[in-house]
């Protein structure tokens, strides 16, 4: 099997799975649907491994393979192929995407079992995996945009999965529209590049950019900033981030797969993929780095204040992606993608664990109500701990090595990049505190009613199924969990998936240890980033400082959280009082939703209303249509008035006319 075949199969299998489930939804009811979906993605992972092996067979300088099936459009100088591009970066991405997806599919087989839309769920989920693989395998910018929009659509389908909930559909439309804005940015950015270079395929694009543009030329910078808009929208970076917390309306496996492990990292992939262009437009790259740094700080502060379990993890995701965006924009490619990989492991794990807790709570997500689950759910507790330790970069966990490598590579560039470096470590402190606040509040303290029930072996059921976001009683049939839900870490599929991810979260650091000879990931990615023109001077001292600083922050942060939320009851309330204005700002998420509402949504709605109520009536149908048809009608009314029906009147007109004619000729003759 050639490498091209393997890669096309990686792409084809999830699509086939999705179509099979969608078209045969009447036959594949029950667990079978879940297994079909899982098998499709699992096979895709196998072929991703085959692709990896084949790629490693090639000599390092030939590790970029393009392959295309047919032309989508070839007209007027625009040539869009249905083609893929395989190199170490895209191979890493397909491995992460299909691997983590397989585990999350497995988890969902158990987790979603009592849901009415089981088959639909797996069909959507497979479609998402296909879209994401298309995004990372696409061989040109146009096909990338297609994959880009497909994942947006899949994300919308899955956020609105429980479509009877108005909160879910509102969150879905918000996510979709912001993502479309990102798509438009991407398209316009592509135009800026295409106008000068006339190609869309990656190979010629990367080789030609330095001839086509001057370094940092205004039109290239403008194009790359528009492309960044696309990356920001997809990766939930400021100010396009407001959809991500709302996207938690989707089922928890969706949050785990799409809104933590894979889709939201597409922006990171995009910047890494187009790195020759970004390096040639350093101003745009700097914009990306600064926005990443801002996002990681802002999201970290919000994570300290919100009380919804899933939303804390969502803001944490935002913040961690801020790190990655900052990293790849500042040319810390290996670090960025290393962090992307480990983050996929531990964040998926955290979401899965949170999903178990939420299910045990009968759908309640508020940290104010959850407490004391340590004894009730020991397995989930352990997984949550592993994920939390990795997220807070505790020494020797995977997150420790990846975050450190990322910040080290940023710091290596010196100059004002030290500012980003410092921001990274400040954000790191926030990360530790909000992570452990979440852990302590969930698992320590007095067990709540639901936890007590579970300790005695009963699973809590809400008296009426309700929507946790607005308290509305659920409509009919659709909605989760159903009256017979039976989860909470009990099925082996969920346990297997969580164990695998826990192991990866611990051992993921082996991909790249801070020693020269132990950096397999850096060597693997080398061919992709070999053409980088950014220098990374070696700085052993900085590396050591970073490792020490990181360990100190992790330990100190955990200690602080323990003191505030466990030993010292009311400690949190005192902090809130002391910094009341700040706390308000954080709880209200820096008022981003309100600002966007004021600046965009309301003016547009007002314009629409004005058009409907005023302009349409007076100008469009009043003056133009009414005027034109009015003229025609009044003209015909005048003519009609002459037709009196009076016979003698007509005769008089005839005679009168005749006399007039005769008179005229007589006068002329005279």
């Amino acid at each position: 099997m050639s490498i091209q075949t393997a890669a096309w199969l990686v792409l084809a299998l999830p699509l086939a799975g999705s179509l099979k489930l969608a078209l045969g939804f009447r036959f594949w009811r029950g667990a079978m649907a879940g297994w079909i979906g899982t098998a499709a993605v699992g096979l895709a992972f196998v072929f991703a491994l085959v692709t990896l092996v084949k790629l490693l067979d090639l000599p390092a300088e030939q590790r970029h393979v393009a392959s295309s099936l047919w032309d989508l459009a070839n007209v007027g100088g625009v040539h869009i192929r249905l083609g893929i591009y395989i190199d170490p970066l895209s191979t890493l991405m397909i491995l992460v995407v299909s691997g983590v997806s397989t585990l999350i599919h497995l988890y969902s087989v158990g987790y979603m079992r009592s849901d009415e839309g089981y088959t639909r769920f797996f069909s959507y989920l497979n479609f998402f995996v296909f879209s994401m693989l298309l995004l990372v395998l696409a061989g040109n910018l146009a096909l990338l945009i297609v994959g880009w929009a497909f994942v947006g659509a899949a994300s919308y389908f899955l956020i609105s999965f429980w479509y009877r909930r108005s909160t879910a559909t509102n969150a879905g439309i918000k996510a979709f529209v912001i993502n479309v804005i990102g798509d438009v940015g991407l398209v316009l950015g592509t135009f800026f590049i295409f106008r000068r270079m006339g190609v869309l395929d990656y190979g010629p694009l990367f080789h030609g950019v330095q001839h086509a543009f001057d370094k940092n030329e205004a039109s290239l910078v403008a194009g790359m900033i528009l492309i960044l808009v696309g990356a920001f929208a997809k990766s939930a970076q400021i100010p396009f981030h407001t959809w991500l917390p709302d996207a938690m309306e989707g089922p928890t496996p969706v949050s785990s797969l799409i809104h933590a492990a894979t889709m939201v990292t597409a922006g990171v992939y995009l910047i890494g993929r187009l790195h020759p262009l970004f390096e040639w437009a350093p101003t745009a790259a700097d914009v990306g780095a600064v926005v990443g740094a801002l996002t990681l700080l802002v999201a970290g502060t919000i994570g300290l204040a919100v009380t919804d379990l899933k939303r804390v993890i969502a803001y944490s995701t935002m913040s961690q992606i801020g790190y990655m965006i900052m990293g790849v924009s500042a040319a810390a490619y290996t670090g960025g993608f290393f962090h992307l990989t480990t983050h996929a492991f531990f964040k998926a794990l955290l979401f899965m664990s949170a999903g178990s807790v939420i299910a045990a709570m009968g759908n309640e997500q508020s940290l104010d109500k959850i407490s004391g689950f340590r004894k009730a759910m020991p397995f989930t507790f352990r997984c949550f701990l592993v994920g939390g330790l990795a997220l807070s970069a505790f020494p020797l966990m995977s997150g420790f090595f990846s975050k450190d490598d990322l910040l080290y590579e940023v710091g290596q560039r010196g100059g004002w990049y030290y500012g980003l470096y410092a921001a990274g470590y400040i954000g790191s402190l926030f990360t530790v505190i909000y992570t452990w606040r979440m852990i302590f509040r969930t698992f320590w303290g007095e067990p709540c009613e639901q936890a007590l029930a579970l300790e005695h072996g009963h699973l809590y059921h809400a008296p009426h199924p309700f929507n946790p976001a607005n308290g509305e009683v659920e409509d009919t049939g659709v909605g989760f969990p159903g009256p017979d839900h039976h989860i909470a870490e009990q099925t082996w599929q969920m346990k297997a998936a969580m164990s695998a991810l826990a192991l990866l979260s611990i051992a993921g650091g082996l991909l790249l240890l801070p020693f020269e000879s132990l950096e397999p990931l850096r060597k693997f990615l080398e061919p992709t980033f070999a053409d980088s023109i950014v220098a990374h001077p070696k700085n052993t001292g900085l590396e050591t400082v970073g490792l020490v600083l990181s360990s100190v922050i992790a330990v100190a942060g955990i200690a602080f959280a323990y003191a505030t939320w466990v030993t010292n009851a009311g400690g949190a309330a005192r902090w809130q009082q002391r910094f009341a204005p700040l706390h308000n700002l954080f709880v209200n998420k820096w008022y981003f939703d309100e600002l966007i509402d004021l600046a965009v949504v309301r003016p547009l709605a007002a314009f629409g209303r004005w058009g409907r109520d005023t302009f349409e009536r007076i100008v469009v149908s009043g003056a133009l249509v009414g005027g034109t048809s009015g003229i025609v009608k009044s003209g015909s009314a005048a003519v009609r008035g002459l037709q009196t029906g009076l016979l003698r009147g007509y005769a008089g007109l005839v005679v009168g006319g005749m006399f007039a004619v005769v008179l005229y000729f007589l006068l002329r003759a005279a």
Binding site: G645, A651, V655
Partner: protein
């Protein structure tokens, strides 16, 4: 005899007919006046025919007579139908075809 006399008589007959059409309201009388106007035309045609000394005018006059006969037949038919349906025999009342 001078052609002018023929034409003067013809014109007088025509005017009489036209005035009749305009002032009378009974369709029967209007029909009579129409005949008068047609015959005025016939007289003029015959006069011209005689003036030129060929038969063209006479042929026209014959055709006009045929048309007049048809007209009378249809017109009388309409008047009879009006009587049958007990409609007023007054052209000022019969104006349903107004615009």
């Amino acid at each position: 005899m001078n052609i002018a006399w023929f034409l003067i008589v013809s014109a007088l007959m025509f005017c009489l007919g036209a005035v009749g059409v305009l002032v009378r309201r009974n369709p029967l009388v209007i029909l009579l006046c129409l005949e008068l106007m047609l015959n005025a035309g016939n007289l003029a045609l015959l006069g011209f025919s005689r003036m030129w000394g060929d038969g063209d005018g006479q042929i026209f006059a014959l055709i006009v007579m045929v048309v007049a006969a048809c007209e009378v037949a249809i017109g009388l038919g309409i008047i009879v139908a009006l009587y049958r349906r007990r409609l007023p025999v007054d052209v000022d009342e019969l104006r349903e075809l107004h615009g």
